[in-house]
């Protein structure tokens, strides 16, 4: 088993999916992509190997945010947009918990945008599952910050006139240390990305291209659909060349300052010319480009795009407290009350 964070206590027994199944009825619409995400989480938690009591799931508001009720761990269902702030408090208060956050494109990128960029900037060790369905589902079909421009929704009858966010670009802009993108129709890829997120010390964003079957059905099909995905999805693996296409005949190269799609075997291009993925690179330059590119001119990149090591906020809090405890003369509140200028009457 790969190395995962050792500050969280490990389970003495091998846990299984059933250890995390909740007795609550799952109330997402039949066919919703969230069901697959739940299955992936129930599969990955036992694999991660922590004590089941050390998982804590925090959420905001929206379809995604019902998540804590459906997993048998500790959990808080918060208020709209604030899951990142609540998670931050949980993790700082108890760094020995493995904190997971379930959120959506509305919850984290609209009402919670501020908290989202700041948790990333601080690099608090939280794993964020961002269900990106490009729509507000729970309020029944209004456009979100990731809805493609021009899309007709209940609040944009003539098409939206807003430029959507690209989640990965926002994450890199906020100095993100971990970013993965996965489709909801590939449980293995989801599970792997979640496991990598758990391994990563710092804020991990796993963007899940999730399908809302009711209000934005097939929104991701142009990229993740069975018929097109060979040509539109590039799944990166660390240390391997970034190739795609039915026969892995296409790849990415860096030309000047831009990525370019090339065909192997044409114009003298060989597999050795193709960019090799380095998810651990501290410099986010290539990661940002990978997060941004999309059809029609490029494939969309999936898998763990970035996983760079930087100190975490919660570790530094502990270090400062440890240092203060070792060096301060004030060891208890009586010391504090009697510190500085005092006199007897």
């Amino acid at each position: 088993m790969d190395f995962v964070n050792m500050t969280v206590e490990r389970s003495k027994v091998q846990l299984t999916k059933t250890d995390f199944e909740s007795d609550q009825m799952v109330k997402w619409c039949p066919g919703c992509g969230a069901h697959a995400i739940l299955a992936a989480v129930e599969r990955v938690f036992p694999k991660i190997g922590y004590r089941k009591e050390n998982f804590c799931i925090v959420s905001g508001i929206g379809c995604s945010s019902r998540f804590p009720y459906y997993v048998n761990t500790y959990g808080i269902h918060g208020i709209h947009g604030r899951a990142a702030a609540i998670s931050t408090g949980v993790k700082i208060a108890n760094p020995r918990l493995s904190v997971w956050m379930a959120t959506g494109d509305g919850d984290s990128l609209a009402i919670g945008g501020n908290h989202f960029i700041h948790i990333i900037r601080r690099n608090v060790d939280i794993n964020i599952l961002l269900f990106n369905n490009q729509i507000y589902g729970l309020t029944k079909g209004q456009y979100s910050p990731t809805t493609p421009m021009g899309k007709v929704t209940k609040t944009s009858p003539q098409g939206t006139i807003e430029h959507p966010f690209t989640v990965g670009e926002l994450v890199m802009g906020a100095q993100g240390t971990f970013f993965a993108r996965v489709p909801d129709n590939n449980i293995n890829m989801m599970t792997e990305a979640m496991f990598e997120a758990a391994k990563h010390d710092g804020t991990s964003i796993v963007e899940i291209m999730q399908n809302c079957i009711i209000f934005a059905d097939k929104a991701h099909n142009e990229v993740t659909g069975k018929e097109v995905k060979d040509e539109t999805m590039l799944v990166v693996k660390n240390g391997e060349p970034m190739v795609f296409g039915k026969n892995h005949e296409k790849g990415l190269v860096l030309r000047d300052t831009r990525l370019e799609v090339v065909e192997i075997g044409q114009n003298g291009i060989t597999i050795d010319d193709i960019l090799v993925h380095d998810q651990y690179s501290q410099d986010p330059g290539i990661h940002l480009m990978l997060a941004k590119i999309a059809p029609p001119n490029y494939p969309m990149v999936f898998g763990v795009i970035r996983s760079a090591m930087f100190p975490t906020y919660d570790d530094m809090v502990e270090e400062q407290i440890k240092y203060a405890k070792e060096t301060s003369k004030i060891r208890n509140v009586d010391d504090l009350l009697n510190s500085g200028d005092t006199w007897e009457i």
Partner: protein
């Protein structure tokens, strides 16, 4: 130098105010002056009065910064209404503060600062030191800047540094007037400027020169003497309300064994609590400066779920932003301390001035039926105690508690008799035990209706909570109508039950009579002093000052019934009075209000009380 024996004027209490440009060092002079007063055993209260701007234009009224010291040989309850000695370092500060000087007050001025441009900038047509407008005061006109530079000429100091120490010259003059010992201040310089020894020398020389100068010119014919106050035996220190609040939270954390977490966003006048707690990591305090007010409280809710004594500190505008999250803490029934250091509102209002106008917001400012405990501190010193009690009640009753203080309490300082932690009341949060087979998220203690606190990581207690209504006892999501009624009633009942755990309301004066004066929070000093003055005049007035607002002490109704007239005094348009009327609909409850960003003056209160006593 031979010392002439000066006649002594004994004063029970004196108010001294240092005013000048915001860069003139008035805060430091005032602090040093009050420290020396404390050392000779005076009781005292201080208040810094500074502009909202960090450095407003020089010599303007907007840039005036002040520090007021009220010291006495008897118990001091306020920072003082009218000033006995005013130190005014420039024309603008004189103009802005003359209205607070008593007739016959001593006014010390730096004549060097009264040059044409500065006089004009202050809005004077003529030089007030020369036009006779100050005839009814005892004005000491000293060329302080010149003399300061003169005193330092042997030390080869640049002009700017020399000028900057003129506040110490003025302080030296005051030390002469009050016959204070210079040694403690010398000692203070030695500590403060350890790393800049040249400043030790400069400040000592200038302070001594000011003292000598005053002696030479016989600045005041007599010594003003304020003797030591009779105070309860013990160890004392000076404390501001904001420091007291911070320390009270630390004390509650230590006593309860629950680590302290503060999630806050800087806001005047509450920021000092955040800064103070950030210093105390050695006590395990985890202080998180959030990206906004909402993240401040939400991080605290997360920390509370994870088992910390979680707090957030703010002022009115921030409390508005936190409303939705307070609702989440009410619904999840997690302990949380929300400190609101009130300022003038609405909106940005008067950030550096004080008001009591957030009471409605604290009591009612949330969606849904959303009761919380509301407690108010009444002195800078008891901010410590009420912060401690707010934390105790929040944890023991598993509910948010709002602590109301205000800018005057927060910035002001009083003497603080240092308690021993062993004497502080116990705090016993209802922690759920690992693998308790009986544990249910919303099962309650039938005595106080508090649910148990089950901390993530504990074996056998996994559960989910959240903002959706929960089924009683089981804690699963429920939209059942009757369950919502039950849970609504339980949340309200839990807060009402707190009345069983707080002290009964005390009354100062007779338990029945013609007039009951009611006040709450930061107005205690002024209202108490006014009532005391009425008592001295032989008038029958009683006073009830409230610290516990929601719930009210059990005997509140009984107290109110004992009086023909009741007057509720508060620094808002009548929020507590209407709350009382709502709880106790009685026709004889009247009100006295002021919304000027200023505290009550004692005489405006006594005038009102006398008027009420005379009216039949």
């Amino acid at each position: 130098m031979t010392k002439k024996k000066r006649p002594v004027i004994e004063r029970e209490e004196v108010v001294v105010k240092f005013v000048g440009d915001s860069g003139d060092g008035m805060q430091l002079s005032g602090t040093m002056f009050s420290d020396v007063a404390a050392l000779v055993g005076n009781d005292l209260a201080t208040f810094p009065d500074f502009p909202a701007e960090i450095r407003a234009p020089q010599n303007t009224i907007a840039g005036v910064s002040g520090f007021q010291v009220h010291m006495g040989s008897s118990k001091i309850f306020t920072t003082g209404d009218m000033v006995d000695v005013l130190v005014a370092m420039n024309p603008a500060s004189l103009r802005a503060n003359l209205k607070w000087a008593k007739k016959g007050a001593t006014i010390l001025t730096d004549t060097d600062a009264f040059e044409e441009k500065a006089i004009e900038k202050a809005g004077y047509k003529k030089d007030p030191l020369k036009d006779g407008s100050l005839e009814s005061y005892n004005v000491i006109k000293a060329p302080i800047t010149t003399l300061t530079k003169e005193s330092l000429k042997d030390l080869n100091i640049d002009n700017k540094t020399a000028e900057r120490s003129k506040n110490m010259f003025a302080l030296g003059i005051l030390y002469y007037i009050f016959n204070r010992d210079l040694k403690p201040s010398f000692h203070y310089f030695e500590q403060k400027f350890k790393k800049k020894p040249e400043l030790i020398q400069i400040n000592k020389v200038v302070l001594q020169s000011g003292y000598n100068y005053a002696e030479t010119i016989e600045a005041l014919e007599s010594v003003i003497q304020v003797g030591p106050a009779k105070m309860e035996k013990g160890r004392y220190r000076n404390i501001t309300g904001n420091t007291g609040t911070a320390w009270g939270l630390l004390a509650a954390s230590e006593k309860s064994g629950r680590p302290l977490f503060l999630g806050s966003y800087p806001i005047t006048p509450a920021t000092e609590i955040l800064m103070e707690l950030a210093k105390h990591k050695s006590l395990g305090a985890k202080v998180f400066q959030a990206e906004d007010e909402i993240a401040g409280i939400c991080s605290a809710i997360g920390a509370s779920y994870a088992g910390s004594l979680a707090c957030t500190t703010t002022s009115g505008p921030g409390l508005s932003l936190k409303s939705e999250a307070i609702g989440l803490a009410v619904m999840t029934e997690l302990p949380l301390v929300i400190v609101d250091v009130q300022r003038g509102g609405p909106s940005t209002g008067l950030p550096t001035k004080s008001e009591q106008s957030d009471l409605y917001q604290a009591l009612f400012g949330r969606n849904g039926e959303c009761p919380v405990i509301v407690v108010a501190a009444s002195t800078s010193e008891n901010c410590f105690y009420y912060a401690y009690m707010a934390a105790k009640l929040a944890m023991e009753h598993m509910t948010p508690c709002i602590l109301l203080t205000d800018g005057y309490l927060g910035f002001g300082s009083t003497l603080f008799r240092i308690p021993k932690m062993a004497d502080m009341p116990p705090i016993n949060p209802p922690m759920a035990q690992a693998n308790d087979p009986e544990y249910k998220p919303y099962k309650r203690n039938p005595e106080n209706l508090a649910r148990q606190w089950a901390i993530p990581g504990t074996e056998g207690l996994r559960h989910r909570i959240g903002g959706l209504e929960k089924e009683n006892i089981m804690g699963t999501v429920s939209t059942d109508p009757m369950n919502h009624q039950i849970m609504t009633d339980l949340r309200a009942g839990k807060v009402e039950k707190v009345a069983e755990y707080i002290p009964e309301q005390e009354i100062d004066g007779d338990p029945t009579g013609d007039l009951l004066v009611v006040s709450w929070g930061g107005t205690y000093g002024a209202v108490h002093s006014a009532v005391e003055q009425m008592h001295k005049e032989g008038k029958r007035v009683s006073h009830a000052h409230f610290h516990y607002i929601m719930p009210l002490p059990k005997n509140t109704g009984d107290i109110l019934k004992g009086f023909k007239k009741i007057v509720v005094c508060e620094l808002n348009s009548g929020q507590f009075v209407n709350y009382l009327r709502m709880k106790f609909p009685m026709p004889n409850i009247t009100q006295f209000n002021k919304v000027q960003g200023l505290p009550f003056m004692i005489n405006e209160l006594t005038n009102k009380f006398n008027q009420l006593l005379e009216e039949k």
